[in-house]
């Protein structure tokens, strides 16, 4: 089972530019979470600060009892072994072919024989749909393949926590859908805690158990998927609908005059699209352990959530229970 990641009061700035401040959230163990946000809101910086690649100014990130913000380098290297990180462009080693890239962590950290390494690598390559492509070099393959190879490399050491930086960028909607399914299947299989950083609304609507949103240097909200997907918060409705009308501007936030003008132009406010059911693992995959844990957790905090979210959650649970009975 995955490990919980507790983020507390995290603040980061580059010089005088504040990226985000006072971000606090908990990635529940074994669940899939998505961090949404417009381009340039520091989503990637957030992901990197969890593994200590970026040192935040203040705050804590506690993983398995280790605070990756303030711990020693030795402890950080220990803590990182719990993580698998899939970078935006795969971040494969250009001088090695895909097979050697994926075998790299095994050769560095384990004493496995080449035969054992081969077995693990081929299994992971098969898992991400790269079987038979091991001899190719990162420069010779498409962006989507690089991402999947990066994911396979992140998986070889059986991480407890998987971080994905924009798994969808540069992929067509069909491939994005396949990748979404792959992530869910992966979660069912290894029960790792997952964080996906993205601005793809399709992933946000179908994949995660929990969603957060970064905007204007703050965490707008973080909670069960139903909360954000039924929210009437102006930033969220604008983002989820992909509209121009709202607080998010082309470069930064808009001023009040533009907003007032838009309100006149806009006419009727637009609601959110209907909540779609979350993806389930493909046939033949084990059930997601996280679902049960999440049900219990969310039921516990149900009374603290907004009313629309409560309805959505109960509806989803009845649907889920019904679905399971129907399946048996």
């Amino acid at each position: 089972m995955g490990i919980e990641v507790v983020v507390d009061g995290l603040t980061k700035s580059f010089g005088s530019h504040k990226v985000w401040s006072d971000v606090s959230l908990t990635l529940p163990a074994g669940e899939v979470s998505v961090m949404l946000g417009p381009s340039g809101t520091g989503k990637t910086v957030f992901l990197k600060s969890l593994v200590g690649l970026v040192r935040p100014d203040r705050g804590r990130v506690v993983v398995d009892g280790i605070d990756t913000v303030s711990c020693s380098e030795r402890q950080l290297y220990q803590a990182r072994k719990l993580f698998g990180v899939m970078f935006q462009d795969g971040a494969l080693f250009g001088s090695l072919n895909l097979y050697d890239n994926i075998a790299f962590p095994l050769r560095e950290h384990t004493k496995l024989t080449e035969a054992e390494i081969r077995r693990v690598v081929l299994e992971k390559m098969d898992m991400v749909g790269l079987a038979g492509e091991g001899h190719k070099y990162p420069g010779e393959i498409s962006g989507g393949m690089r991402k999947r190879a990066g994911l396979a490399r992140a998986l070889v050491l059986d991480p407890q926590i998987i971080l994905c930086d924009e798994p969808d960028s540069g992929l067509d909607p069909v491939r994005t859908a396949y990748l979404s399914q792959l992530l869910i299947d992966l979660n069912a299989k290894i029960d790792a805690t997952m964080l996906i950083v993205t601005h793809d609304i399709q992933i946000a609507r179908t994949v995660p158990d929990n969603i957060g949103m970064l905007f204007r240097g703050n965490l707008v909200m973080f909670g069960p998927r139903e909360v954000l997907l039924t929210s009437d918060h102006p930033v969220i409705t604008q983002f989820v609908n992909g509209r121009r009308i709202g607080p998010i501007g082309m470069s930064e936030e808009k001023d009040d005059a533009t907003l007032a003008l838009e309100r006149i132009e806009a006419g009727q406010p637009v609601g959110l699209p209907a909540l779609v059911p979350q993806l389930v693992p493909s046939a033949g995959m084990p059930e997601r352990q996280a679902v049960h844990r999440r049900t219990e957790r969310v039921m516990g905090l149900l009374h603290t959530l907004p009313e629309t979210a409560q309805h959505a959650i109960t509806a989803a649970m009845t649907h889920h229970a019904h679905h399971r009975r129907g399946g048996q």
Partner: protein, 258 residues
């Protein structure tokens, strides 16, 4: 947080020294990257051997011609060999080696590391709990230092041969007097300091190249700038360090015949 002028330069200097210190520290940490070391050694040697020989022949010749015409006027022609050996072995050779290691090897190291940095390969390596300094930088710096020491011997020999050739064939000097005067001014510590200099220069070239490669400005242009900076910074440091080492050496080891 307004920076005082010059803070940036100081910070970079500090980081450079910190990198040098971690390279030395991680050299002794297992597992040692033997394979990477051999590959880098071979690479640096292959790009520097020919150019450094081609540079050292005319260099030896120039020194001989210059010193030769001077000693001729003073009637001390028999000392040409001695002066040429001293100049080539003690000064010219380590500098030629270092300039070529920095220019040919260091720039390639910097470009390679820089390209990997902007492609996030270094960060990927770090999150896999592998230290890029131990895995990539240590073998490169050791290779640069090692090649420098070995190349220094080659350049000294080729430089002296070049000087001999021009002395004998162009200035019609006596071959015997050139060879016989070798030991009249030069002594064994000259060779030692020459090799020590080459070692230190090679180390500096490697560390500076790695440092610029690990901290490029974003984008391909940043890597280009980093390569340029690494060569310029290495050259500046080399001549300064050479001055200091020479001054110390002349204090410690008295010149022969003085």
């Amino acid at each position: 947080m307004a920076d005082v002028a010059g803070t940036g330069a100081l910070r970079q200097t500090g980081k450079l020294f910190a990198l040098a210190a971690s390279v030395i520290r991680l050299t002794f940490k297992r597992p040692f990257q033997t394979r990477e070391l051999i590959e880098q050694f071979w690479f640096i040697a292959s790009v520097t051997i020919l150019p450094s020989m081609l540079v050292s022949i005319p260099f030896g010749a120039v020194i001989t011609l210059q010193v030769g015409s001077l000693t001729k006027q003073l009637g001390a022609e028999s000392f040409t060999g001695a002066a040429s050996v001293l100049a080539v072995v003690q000064q010219a050779s380590p500098l030629i080696v270092a300039l070529l290691i920095a220019g040919a090897g260091g720039s390639a190291i910097c470009a390679d590391i820089g390209a990997r940095t902007i492609r996030e390969e270094m960060q990927a390596m770090e999150v896999m709990s592998v230290s890029p300094i131990q895995r990539l930088i240590v073998p490169r710096v050791l290779a640069a230092s090692g090649v420098a020491v070995l190349l220094n011997g080659l350049v000294s020999v080729v430089g002296v041969i070049g000087g001999y050739f021009f002395f004998v064939f162009l200035q019609h000097g006596t071959p015997g007097s050139f060879l016989a005067s070798f030991s009249s001014l030069a002594q064994l510590p000259d060779l030692y300091i020459s090799e020590i200099k080459a070692l230190i220069f090679g180390f500096i070239a490697g560390v500076v190249a790695a440092h610029r490669g690990l901290n490029p400005r974003p984008g391909p242009k940043g890597v280009g700038e980093a390569v340029n900076q690494s060569v310029v910074i290495t050259f500046l440091l080399l001549f300064f360090v050479n001055l200091v080492l020479t001054a110390i050496y002349l204090q410690i080891v008295p010149p022969k015949g003085a």
